[in-house]
Amino acid sequence: MFERRLYHHIDWALVAAIFALCALGVVMIYSATAARTTSHLYLTQIYAIVIGSGALLLTLSLDYRAFTEKSHLIYIGLIALLLYVMFFGTVQMGARRWIPLKFVNLQPSEFAKIGVALVLAKFFADNRGTPSWTDLVIAGLLTIVPLGLIAREPDLGTAVTLVPVFLGVAYLAGMRMRILGILFLGLVLLTPIVWKFGLKDYQKSRISTFLDPSQDAKGAGYQQIQARITVGSGGLMGKGFKHGTQGQLQFLPVAHNDFIFSVLAEEQGFAGVLVALGLYLFVILRSLEAAQLAKDRPGAYLVLGVLASFTFQVIYNITMSAGLAPVKGLTLPLMSYGGSSMIATLAGFGLILNVRMRRFTN
């Protein structure tokens, strides 16, 4: 199954960039949590990277077509897990997101991206030609079902990451830009109606706070202002490893998680930011190349599906880390603390490497 010549087609540069980002993440988690002496979150993160590497090897070694062929089973399994979470998951911080396993808490929503990417890749690959309205509606439903289940947990941030998966695959499958335009126009027209009837007061306040954070400096706008202060105070060269004040003194909430990039910006400065941005850009461009090189449509679709949610999450999280976007519980893939996210992301890159590696095989 794993032929020796395939080994030579592994994109080692991409692998190196991915693990460089993982290492950067561990270092920043260590720094952000060092003040809490009892915490060894960075060790947990290293375990997650080890397990994630195993997952990566698994998704790399089997032919990706085996995964797309069986994607309907994977998809059904995913829905089952999400339903299980809905009824039996453990509650943390007001959300029911986790399935407690022996050593780790599994967060099925993180794996939904891969599941949806696989099933959409197979669906659009099976329907040759420009997708019809029916195709788009069916693909949309395939996305909406897990999205709705995750949103109910509630975990709106993770749920939203499924939208780029759909858009990425549909775009590559030839969905007319006009349709995208119509969807966008509809959304704009709906906005005032949604604002008036669809949003709860606290949601409205979140949005207005985003537009002017200072109007609620201690409430919803607090994290956003603190994020900006964290990043801005870092300066060109940063305050130095473990010398950040915003992260160390916990002015920035969940610094090791959602705001890990802010910690990097504070302690390593603009220089560190450029290095990390460069690595992420390299990973994304290199993966896009894998999509172009893919020898078949399922391969290309799969790469873009996985990559779309990754890219969306990276750009959104970094924007949020600088206090330039509303605060959403959205992690930075590869760097943020979180086992399920790390394992799912590495598994996803296993598939991307897989497609590129098998571009010459039949």
């Binding site: 801005g232 300066g235 060109l236 003194l249 916990q250 603009f270 896009l288 970094i318």
Partner: protein, 612 residues
């Protein structure tokens, strides 16, 4: 195409970070420092105050204040509710305090409790995490030992707006002296507050100290006060209170050579400790509404008729102006008519004094003698010599808000009342009634001037200052004036004063201390007109005020002073207090133990109607 979109988005991100981290860096760096650095004030203790023998009179203790710093409040109303609950206070009251300071900058602490109990401190500490905007501050607080001499020390309190406006070195929230020496020597006592810059985390916990500017303690003051004399005065008043005589009055004891104040009391008093920890409204209101006016410093602010104690001034005027000699005699049948009106001597009911000369007139306090002399001398010469002895003028004591007494003159009446002075008005002035009014402190100066030969010493309380480098004596203030008095003439008056105390027929024999040649003069002054007076002697508030001015020993006196008992009936009762003060003083001079505290029984106050 997708790769160009991604590159474009990443470029936008890079530019955004460049703007935040490089262009706007200074602004955010300052905001980060504001986040995690706090400057905490370190209150400087006020200077410790000692008596002349080095005994501590006023010191400091550690109190804890509890304040809200709104800058760190997430939900001010929740803080107010929780804090009130934790402290066991009424939330509405706490809210009111916060509202009162609403316009001040949010970083300035709003003090909720100035002197918290241990239980309150513990309770707030236990709720630290829920109350990140509540600050517990250790504040040095004044402690007045034994609560002696309240009006002398005065009290401290938070600086008011007018004081901040007039003195640039003060800032809102400072504790400054508001009365007494706390006020007059505030600039010495106050010290320099320090500050501590600390790093705090997001819940306000102090992580480490960046730097610390130690507070500088206020300068130490050594007063001229002698605690034993002070205690003797207050013990005497306590006995007068217990004995049902009076609980109001004043006493000032000086060294007649220098003006050093050895003892100083005004009663009733207040507890300055109550002010030190922030007086509550109820206590303040009760002090203000008390009919006995405990906040008034009677020693420097009370104005009373001097009664017969004024006679030495009249005598001096007569002698110095060459109108009488010490051998000038007057026949006292108990009353005399002047300008068609009868004037009575206090001996009227017992047939008068008979023929008296100056010495006897003073010793037995003959009114008719001094009516006659006053009539001969005239008001303006009396005014001249009373002023020379320190009456009707300010003494210049180093205490705030001294009030000036009044010795009338023709000029005064013209200016103040736009009326001519009538010769008939001079008669009452001859025995210290009528328009004359004096403060007890000016009477102490008067006694000193009679003791030292005519020098109006300036009473003062400060003897030395220690700013940390050892005691530096403070030179005594210059005398207000020195009158050119013929010693022989004065000696006649002093003879009379000696006989007041040492002649069996003298009015002040109760002050006598064996072998000490105490000299003095009693006086009593009517509170209301004579007729009402006679009709209702039993009403305490209508009883005469009792005076006793004294000095000792007769030659080269080293102590002089006044005891004033409001509604004390007789000068003789005041002389009993003076006796205890003098006994204490001479016991100390001899190195003997001071006499035990007097009781109403040992004081043997005279409640009889016999006047003067």
């Amino acid at each position: 195409m997708l790769q160009y979109i991604v590159i474009g988005l990443f470029s936008v991100l890079a530019v955004s970070f460049w703007v935040l981290q490089v262009i706007q860096h200074d602004r955010f760096e300052e905001m980060a420092e504001n986040n995690n650095q706090r400057t905490l004030p370190l209150r400087a203790p006020r200077g410790v105050v000692f008596d002349r023998d080095g005994r501590v009179l006023v010191e400091n203790r550690h109190a804890y204040s509890i304040s809200i710093v709104r800058e760190h409040s997430k939900d001010l109303n929740a803080t107010v509710r929780l804090l009130a609950h934790v402290l066991g206070l009424d939330p509405a009251g706490v809210k009111e305090i916060v509202d009162r300071h609403r316009r001040e900058p949010t970083y300035r602490p709003i003090m909720i409790i100035q002197d918290a109990t241990l239980a309150q401190v513990t309770a707030v500490t236990a709720h630290r995490l829920e109350l990140p905007d509540v600050v517990l501050e250790q504040v040095p607080t004044r402690r007045y030992i034994d609560a002696l001499a309240a009006h002398l020390f005065g009290y401290v309190g938070e600086v008011n707006d007018a004081q901040v406006a007039s003195d640039t070195s003060l800032k809102s929230g400072d504790i400054v002296g508001q009365q007494g020496i706390e006020k007059s020597y505030n600039s010495l006592l106050m010290g320099q507050d320090g500050a501590k810059r600390v790093v705090v985390n997001s819940v306000g916990r102090e992580i480490r100290t960046l730097d610390e500017d130690e507070p500088a303690e206020g300068q130490r003051l050594r007063l001229t006060i002698d605690s034993d004399i002070q205690k003797a005065i207050e013990d005497g008043f306590a006995a007068a209170g217990e004995g049902g005589l009076t609980n109001a009055g004043a006493a000032v004891v000086l060294d007649p050579r220098s003006g050093e104040v050895l003892g100083f009391s005004s009663l009733p008093a207040y507890d300055p400790n109550a002010f030190a920890s922030g007086i509550d409204r109820a206590t303040w209101a009760s002090l203000n509404n008390d009919g006995q006016r405990p906040l008034q410093d009677r020693a420097i602010q009370g104005r009373y008729s001097p009664g017969s104690t004024f006679k030495m001034a009249v005598a001096l005027a007569g002698l110095e102006e060459g109108i009488i000699t010490p051998d000038f005699t007057v026949y006292c049948p108990g009353h005399a008519d002047f300008y068609g009106r009868p004037f009575h001597c206090w001996m009227d009911r017992r047939g008068g004094h008979g023929t008296v000369d100056l010495r006897r007139a003073i010793a037995e306090s003959c009114d008719v003698y001094f009516y006659t002399v006053a009539n001969m001398v005239g008001i303006d010469k009396i005014n001249k010599w009373a002023t020379a002895l320190g009456l009707g003028v300010m003494t210049g004591i180093d205490l705030p808000n001294e009030v000036q007494g009044l010795v009338p003159s023709t000029q005064w009446k013209l200016q103040a009342r736009h009326e001519k002075w009538y010769a008939g008005e001079t008669i009452s002035v001859g025995i210290g009634q009528g328009a004359v009014s004096v403060t007890p402190v000016s009477m102490a100066v008067y006694a000193s001037a009679l003791a030292n030969g005519g020098t109006r010493v300036t009473p003062h309380l400060l003897s030395a200052v220690d700013n940390g480098s050892g005691w530096k004596p403070v030179p005594a203030p210059a005398p207000q004036s020195t009158a050119d008095i013929d010693p022989d003439k004065l000696e006649a008056i002093r003879d009379g004063m000696w006989r007041v105390v040492n002649d069996p027929r003298g009015t002040g024999v109760t002050a006598r201390v064996a072998g000490r040649d105490v000299s003095g003069k009693t006086g009593s002054s009517q509170v209301v007109g004579l007729q009402t007076h006679a009709a209702d002697k039993t009403n305490k508030s209508l009883r005469d005020n009792g005076w006793f001015v004294f000095y000792a020993p007769r030659e080269q006196p080293t102590i002089a002073g006044v005891v004033f008992l409001e509604h004390g009936i007789h000068g003789g009762n005041s002389a009993r207090l003076a006796h205890h003060i003098l006994e204490t003083y001479f016991a100390k001079v001899d190195g003997r133990p001071v006499p035990p505290s007097p009781t109403p029984d040992t004081m043997k106050f005279d409640f009889s109607d016999a006047d003067r």
